[in-house]
Symmetry: D3
């Protein structure tokens, strides 16, 4: 069975309930999540082996995070303990014309202060098929970026297939480096990149160029630019999201693979229960789709889009759906009939 | 005043909150419901007399179910006590493209183990106008089917008007009989049947035939087939449901009565707060509509459809609306203005 | 900085949760609100000074109401204490085709039993720019109407700009007077009136005339009628609301100012988290818009409509949004993207 | 089977949760209760017939109160509808050295505005064994006192056994009369009075005299004074309560019957879940004890004390315990072992 | 590191909140637990390896139970899937003089219908130090008793140390056998038995004899009787529990080992947050204590008692405390000071 | 009217509910508190003027903290905005033998990174009677200690009476300094110190000496040592706390004033709803007691002890009681009777 390893931060998420604003909240719902952990959970839910690598603080919140990892059937055997605090983020859930709002409180977390040598990557990758990381980790601190580089080098050397999600967050990258200083080297080891084209150009230090995703014929030339930059690159994918309102999204996706453009039809998503983690759900679906021998490239991107859509109906960061449920929606059944 | 008696199972329903999946739930909302009880509550809410007949276990859950029956102004004077457990069902509430999910745990319930002779049907029906039962009861066990037959025979002999909802659930019917072995005899006493045409044919042991409800002219020939099978049948009704998503339904209805087809316009239902029991709400509305001297057949089915639509806005199995509220929607006012 | 004073009642609002009907509720969510207080909160949220004048009972509920006023940065220095009880209203939150329902329990409240002489209006208005009141206050009791008149007379004499919201509630006006006996004198001091044209005619004792808001050319003649009645009137505004369902509203607005009709485009509002107070949100937005030197009349009404739309996404009576958030929607961005 | 009729007010009770103070509460737990209703529920729980007579407003709160009455198996067939509002009371639950706090909001309720002629007392009492009322009802308004008098006169004439609980609340009695103007006539029809001796003297217009309940020999002379005043009196009972803290009470009781003093041993009650309604639980237990042919006078008061103790462990006003549970504690088993 | 394997049922527990009675509950708190699972969690919390063996149904509740096992760091690699339902029990939490109440609904569960051959015991025990089972499992069904016997035979043959908790529940044992028909053979393989002496005699088919635990000198002769019956027996332990009220318990314990009686001092436990599982906490503490090389027999029983006491402060069935926390209480520090 | 200014940190407190452990929590109750803010709230609740000075981050959590300050009637006019995050602490509420547990997450907060010059202390103190600070602030960072020194110097120069609570927390003081390096200079400006004698000696750099608070005659010599160290010192107070369990505390207090020792009797506190902030409640009570002209020294310390006891019954950090409530307990009435 294939095994997917992901590396990143898991945070305590504290969200207001029933669309309350922060100043109305007397309670926060506590869940645990983070981009790369979310991908690992998707993989485990689809029946493959998944392992999550991170650094957690030696306190009750760190240990509770560990329990959530185990509960979701994700392996935790290479997690390091140390540092002062678990990263936290606060979420105010919007509705309709009012968007959700995030207050990050993740500086100085156990993961942000990880240093090279902490993780035994040879041990981590010894039975791994895929290694997945995202642009959030090198955005947090220089040492986290260093560990990321350490990881992709070992993975690459050991023949592990590498996937990356660009995941650009302007509020991060506060430690004196810009994405273009860090990301190109990291991406040079990647076999698959998920991201918007303009983000990819920006992070690669190229001149900005606004792609027109409606005009499919115009896209290959842009995707090809990335292949010239990154020698190991095999596929590039992009999530298409049209935001009608906080409660109504439209989701599609593109997979550019071997010179062919595979495009999944746009699906309506309404209402939105929770959109955080839907990009990670796309990524998890894509990895599963690419690993699934019975799928072709079109099916892989269709699976990713359907997984992403379903995530919007699930509270919390992680996509608690089975492969059967994703395939049902992927096959066009959006009826939401009661299963009884 | 007319009095409607219904017979069936009332269960403890345990539902997850705020669209959580089962594996996220640390709480279940507890309510009580069941198809035939739900019909009785509708009748009581519309101002007629209603009585519910069932069998409950002699424990705290059985007694709490009894209190809920009384709270809703439904008579409980012929309820039997005995058996080991109250039937339970678990409900995970979906949203958008993710459907709701039911885990039944009703085997060996007090109602499933009821036996003939338990209920004094002559006493039950002595002041009854209508007797209502549904296909869920004979699906649960042979003895429950036997008691159902016992009931319809007495009701018929005593001149009580009999209505039935086919209510086919494939997961039930586990005791070695198929619907066609049991339902035809039971239905032969019915004056009104509610159900899809294909379900009616299937349960009657006829060859399947997929009706085209859009093509109204094609329907009378199909409905008429049922009249040839069931000598006491006077009216057949069908709920039309188009499921856009778990959060958006379209509801219409048909009443075939005396050779005439009455069709209620499709109404949009969005968002869906809770769709469980909406079929029972249709049935309750239909019985009320047929009993209401001031309504004609068209108004009866219009009332049933409006009642069904409103049920989708009410949490729990039972339809907590007044006849005035149903008539307001039936008259076309779907504005949802604040009453103040 | 401009300062807006509002005068009216603040009530304890007890609302059912998760769309439950009253007979299902074992809990009520407690918040505090009332038309004129809601306007004051909007003003404070937009960064201007706001003061609320009312009468509160000397008990724990009265003091908790006072704390909510202070929490929201609204001045409370001229609030009187006395009387027997805090006004209460119960709210059942509808969904889809089922409207929300209000049970008022505000008779004999501290505010309803206020009497002239209780408030030192000269003190209140000494640093005020605007005084706002609404038609709810004179509807409650003769003495409350008397205090309202006392207030507008002083405000007018002291050169404070006066705004009024007609806010007609048929269930009030139970003390033997009709609106036309009371409102014309009160309105004669107003510089701005917010309300439907037919309500304005009715409250002014004029023959009813149903305006056609779609036909904009037909409106000036109607608005002008009001100017002939009320000598101090400078502007009239109307909120346009089309109710598709309890969960889907369409909101627009008109400002008739100096012979010109400014009309804001209709916006879709779905889902509706809570529509109570959305009229007050319009009023608060309009006052801010008119006070904002950088806005023209069109922008003032656009701001009011956007504020009103956002209110529908906020639980409780008060509109917890910043001027930046309103301006974002006013500028056409309804995407509800996550701010992170 | 004996049947007990009680007459009084049922209110909506809104209590803060988890010992929160009013100014911290964002939620109120909603239950329904009132002294005489609480007694009726006790009687029904012990297996006798119980009926509650009151007046309810024609709104959703009035109808929900009615449902709670029916849920608890108390007959509601002589309840009148009318008036403007349901009485409300707010409860802040104390702990340890901080006592609970009640904010009454019951003025002008449907029950306070009841008038003679509203209830058909001959119909009410036609199958009644006992009629119970308490001093709260005549304290609310002159007309409520008048209806109370109307009731006891009919009950007395029809040979119904009359019990009364003095239930003195200083905050009531606001309509210009003192207890001594009203209570003596009402009490003259009573067969049983429950109350402290000093309260009984005060309400009877006698000079105050502080009884020493520890000195049992001193009590008969005081109890006998009441027998000289009230010709129909057969028994007098007193609840003994020693309040160590809000969370720790000590409960005993006295029954003076036929010249004999029966005294129940003091029991410790800790922790206190909810002490509201514990006096009514004593009264309900006493009536049951007196009606129970298998009990002697000592057992009657022992049952009343045990019922009162158990009430402190039940949230809400009503005493949800069975006669078996009371008898278990009455027999000395306070172990609170798990029943499994 | 030592590894402890336990075998038994894990159930969904549905408990009322805030001491509500069943008829007041609109919500149930959902947790998962069961005697032998609870022991495994204790072992894992103390830092040893733990594995739980059971049979779970293939539905969402079965899978959620599995996630809870993994979350608590208990191995689940030999769990079988099959059967129709997860066992359920309902818990009403008492207080003071009112005891808690359990409604079992565990008949026909996946575990009750397990059959010999389902579990590969050789695989299970290949790295096990201790095997623990309890008298609840053979009480449920003949096939469960058969599997229990299958397990102890293999464990014994493979040299695994066997511990048993008698855990007598009169409500179980419904399948036609009495404890004395089943338990002696099962216990003949045990090295340690936990239970009251009278229960041990009863289950062994011996004449009842009520031990006097206060009179320590009288006990060895009774404990010795068990050693004559069960050839492999090395130690017998008994939990001493004195129930002052549902909220106040006193806990002690005895270990009879190698002819010596070790007795732990009685500790006061008040208030009781949740006493379910406190016997399992004693058992888990005892196994840990016996395995801990640094403890002598006295310390082993002291640890068991302290663990049992702490369990009463934890909501749910499982004892979420560390060995450090138990040792702190065991050393006499019951101060409950804030750790900060 | 006297005015008390306090300076320190206000944090978001996230506490588990119903005694749950961190690993069981899916929700955290959110309140705001901190030692010096808690003192300010007490002062405001007793009817004096209170102002709180701090630094808050410019985000939604900072602004919500500000609203809580205003809600509690504490002046906020000299609060600075800046920095990255609001300090957070997580609280797990113990019971019985299990203590509560705090996880601090307050490093790098807006308050920890405050620098001299941020606050205009002359402006702050211009109408102040008392300035209160505590040992938590200089424990957080060197710059916070510097600002503290800046404050006491200005206060002293302007003749403001200075009170300090030693508040030693070993987990803080992580920036390279020990208390004895910082505290003596700060304390040299104090007129009143609250703290244990051994803490006072330790923080002053003196040899440790364990006082025997039971032996009152032995104490003056120890208290006098402090007077020789700190020239401005007028009074020293100590809270006496005996912890029977997390749910049962015993509280007393000592005030050493002008060579006289005033000792308040020990009071039992059980159950404990929330003990966090009870030391601050003592401090707030002491300041009020000292400012109250109608109290002598004995009454001042009695008031402080009663306030401290009552705090244990209030959820959250702040002591929501009135002076009347404190005086009632101070006068010996601990009965917790219902106020109605």
């Amino acid at each position: 069975m294939s095994k997917v390893v992901t590396f990143g931060e898991i945070m305590l998420r504290l969200s207001t309930q029933r669309h309350l604003r922060f100043s109305q909240a007397n309670n926060f719902t506590a869940t645990y999540g983070g981009g790369e952990f979310n991908v690992a959970v998707s993989i485990a839910n689809y029946g493959l082996e998944a392992e999550f690598v991170t650094r957690l603080p030696e306190n009750d919140l760190g240990h509770t995070a560990l329990m959530e990892i185990k509960k979701r059937n994700v392996q935790a055997k290479n997690i390091a303990f140390g540092g002062d605090r678990l990263g936290v983020y606060f979420l105010e859930t919007g509705a309709g014309t009012r968007g959700s709002k995030v207050v990050y409180d993740r500086a100085n977390s156990a993961m942000a202060t990880i240093t090279p040598g902490t993780i035994n990557w040879e041990e981590v990758f010894k039975d791994a098929t895929v290694f997945h990381w995202s642009g959030v980790t090198p955005a947090v601190s220089q040492t986290a970026a260093d560990v990321c580089l350490e990881a992709v080098k070992v993975a690459s050397k050991m023949g592990v297939f590498i996937t990356s999600d660009l995941n650009y967050r302007a509020k991060l990258w506060q430690y004196g480096k810009e994405p273009k200083d860090i990301m190109p080297e990291l991406l040079s080891y990647s076999n698959v990149i998920l991201g918007d084209l303009d983000t990819a150009f920006f992070m690669s230090g190229l001149a900005e160029e606004k792609p027109d995703y409606q005009n499919k014929a115009s896209l290959p030339i842009l995707y090809n630019k990335l292949f010239t930059l990154y020698p190991n690159l095999e596929k590039v994918a992009t999530t298409l999201r049209y935001s009608i309102s906080a409660s109504h999204q439209q989701i599609g996706g593109i997979l550019y693979d071997n010179g062919e453009l595979y495009s999944a039809a746009i699906k309506d998503v309404t209402p939105v229960v929770d959109r955080v983690g839907s990009g990670d759900a796309f990524m998890g679906g894509l990895i599963y789709g690419l690993l699934n021998k019975e799928y072709n490239a079109q099916q892989a991107v269709d699976f990713a889009v359907a997984a992403c859509c379903l995530k919007h109906t699930i509270a919390g960061d992680i996509n608690l759906v089975t492969a059967d449920e994703v395939e049902k929606l992927m096959s066009g059944d959006a009826s939401g009939k009661v299963a009884r």
